[in-house]
Amino acid sequence: MSYEIINTSVAEYKKLVESLHSESFEMMVDLTVVDWFRKKEPRFEVVVQFLSVSKNERKTVKVFVDDEELSIPSITDIYPSANFYEREAYDMFGINFLEHPDLTRILMPDDWNGHPLRKNYGSGRIPVQFKNAPKVE
């Protein structure tokens, strides 16, 4: 099995994914984000894993997302399986996937503030409050 890491830019990301799809990388297995808060500039790195079943190969694509815009093209039209993963990345890190058909929160409640997996989001900072729970006087 061969394993390759490709670093690319936001502008060329979609083109690269299209070429991977035509190179018989049938599956997009995983999409996730790493937050390099105060360690690297720009801050967010999108990491996408591709798998070719016919060639038994894996490729990892890494893209740094601009801090100001925080947006990257969606690849749901090429790989429908990216749908949930992009929603998760939006939910947890606040990355906007342009042209995503339904970019809403997936794991957190719809009215949640903030993006929990960011490094400057302290865990346990917000007390858990169930909505409409009877208030204790």
Binding site: M1, V29, V34, Q49, P80, P101, D102, L107
Partner: protein
């Protein structure tokens, strides 16, 4: 007094458009892209029922999150037209506990305690994938006995997980004896797990550097008993269900998933193999020495619910073969790496050696440091490709720990399976994908 049902509020009672559970609407009809996802027509529209019903007869029904046959807290928003499901939107997140965030706060030695709780039906696979990723980053090779124990335990876990899938799948469709049978046989394996690891589930047994403890005395007897009893019981299941006309009528040609759809929606594991592709990471990208075992990968071509049920039975037979080989050729030697910087020394050494005490203290307080870098490792869990992506910044805690759960991805294929088929088949479709919500929501 708190107005719980909001009966006195200006909005006046139950407001459908904005409830606690978020929007109660499917997406607008104009959004073609989203409709494609909700009806699964992105690839091939394979099953259409034509009915003369008007739009007025369409209604949106919520199934779950508290529904016994959604295998946890999965919620489905389905648009029905008469009895036919037209659109489905899986809504998840009801079991989200922030385990990836927690993973950043636990060191590598504590990590498996966290990951083992994700897919609670196959905890040992979660521990294994975390340990393999850590070992890849550190660059250590575990001893042969540890590898063999890992294979033995994970394949037993695959059997127990598939038994639950068969049991709950049977229960959902109404074959209640199947539920009793599946859980009864699983008990055999869980008893062995309890004897070995101390717990029936959430074992924290496979750890970076090896396994937590050696196999207990007389473990061969227990395995031999499992190897004797499970095939007999599988024969019972076949006698009961394989030629059962009700079972076949209920499952055959229902919820068809083609190979292309599996690729497009990222479906792996038994569901892919039931759709006619022999992709198995144990053969293609072997891990933990599984390339030294002889077994076959069963493949079925129908791609329906029946094939997805049948493939699990066939995979149990193959796993039993692996367990038998692991029993017969269990090598002697240490069950964890002898590098005291990574695995703690045996308890009794603490009384006699200052060095051992220091290592023990260091590992249990700070943990071991992992060199900078990132790694993605994937293994074949009972539900498909289970991957773990760890980024290390050189400290003793992962900078980012992400688990690619197979259930999360497989769930996206649910609209493909469910749309344009009767509502009565929906439950069979969910059961056949075998999602574990702990793995979906993490």
């Amino acid at each position: 007094m708190f107005d719980f049902w909001a009966t006195n509020s200006e909005e006046g009672g139950w407001n459908i458009s904005s409830t606690d559970e978020g929007s109660q609407k499917m997406l607008e009809e104009e959004n073609e892209k989203q409709i494609k996802i909700q009806t699964g027509t992105d690839v091939i529209d394979d099953f259409v029922i034509d009915e003369d019903t008007s739009d007025d007869e369409r209604m949106i029904v919520n199934m779950g999150p508290q529904h016994p046959s959604t295998h946890g807290v999965l919620r489905l928003q389905a648009e029905l037209e008469g009895e036919v499901v037209r659109r489905v939107k899986p809504i998840i997140g009801y079991l989200h506990t922030g385990m990836e965030k927690t993973g950043e706060e636990l060191n590598y030695f504590q990590g498996p305690t966290n990951t083992t709780r994700m897919d609670y039906l196959s905890p040992l696979f979660n521990e294994l994938v975390f340990s393999l990723t850590t070992e890849k980053l550190v660059g250590i090779e575990v001893p042969d006995r540890a590898k063999n124990i890992r294979i033995l335990m994970t394949e037993l876990n695959r059997i127990s997980s598939h038994l639950v899938a068969l049991a709950t799948g049977g229960m959902d469709i109404g074959a209640l004896s199947m539920m009793i049978f599946g859980f009864r046989e699983r008990e055999l394996i869980l008893n062995f797990f309890e004897k070995t690891t101390g717990l029936r589930m959430n074992h924290n047994y496979i750890r970076p550097g090896g396994v937590a403890a050696d196999l207990p005395d007389g473990w061969q007897k227990d395995i031999e008993e499992i190897l004797k009893i499970i095939p007999e019981k599988l024969q019972d299941y076949d006698d009961m269900l394989l030629d059962n006309p009700i079972w076949k009528g209920r499952l055959q040609n229902v919820g068809i998933l083609t190979t292309e759809e599996c690729f497009a929606y990222g479906v792996t594991g038994p569901s892919l193999r039931a759709s006619g592709h022999s992709w198995d990471l144990r053969k293609a990208q072997p891990y933990s020495g599984i390339e030294n075992f002889e077994f076959e990968v069963p493949v079925l071509n129908e791609g329906d619910v029946f094939a997805r049920w049948r493939i699990k039975v066939l995979e149990i037979f193959e796993s039993l073969k692996i367990v038998e080989q692991a029993l017969n050729k269990m090598p002697k030697g240490p069950y964890k790496v002898q590098d005291k910087k990574i695995t703690p020394p045996p308890r009794k050494r603490l009384d006699e050696s200052m060095e051992a005490l220091i290592h023990h203290f260091k590992i249990y307080t700070e943990g071991f440091k992992v060199p900078e870098g990132d790694a993605y490792v994937a293994i074949e869990s009972p539900r498909g490709e289970l991957g773990c992506y760890i980024v290390s910044d050189g400290s003793s805690k992962p900078y980012r720990m992400h688990v690619r759960g197979p259930s999360f991805c497989n769930l996206q294929a649910l609209p493909v399976i469910m749309t344009d088929s009767p509502i009565a088949d929906a439950v069979a479709a969910i059961a056949s994908l075998d999602p574990v919500i702990g793995d979906v929501d993490r």
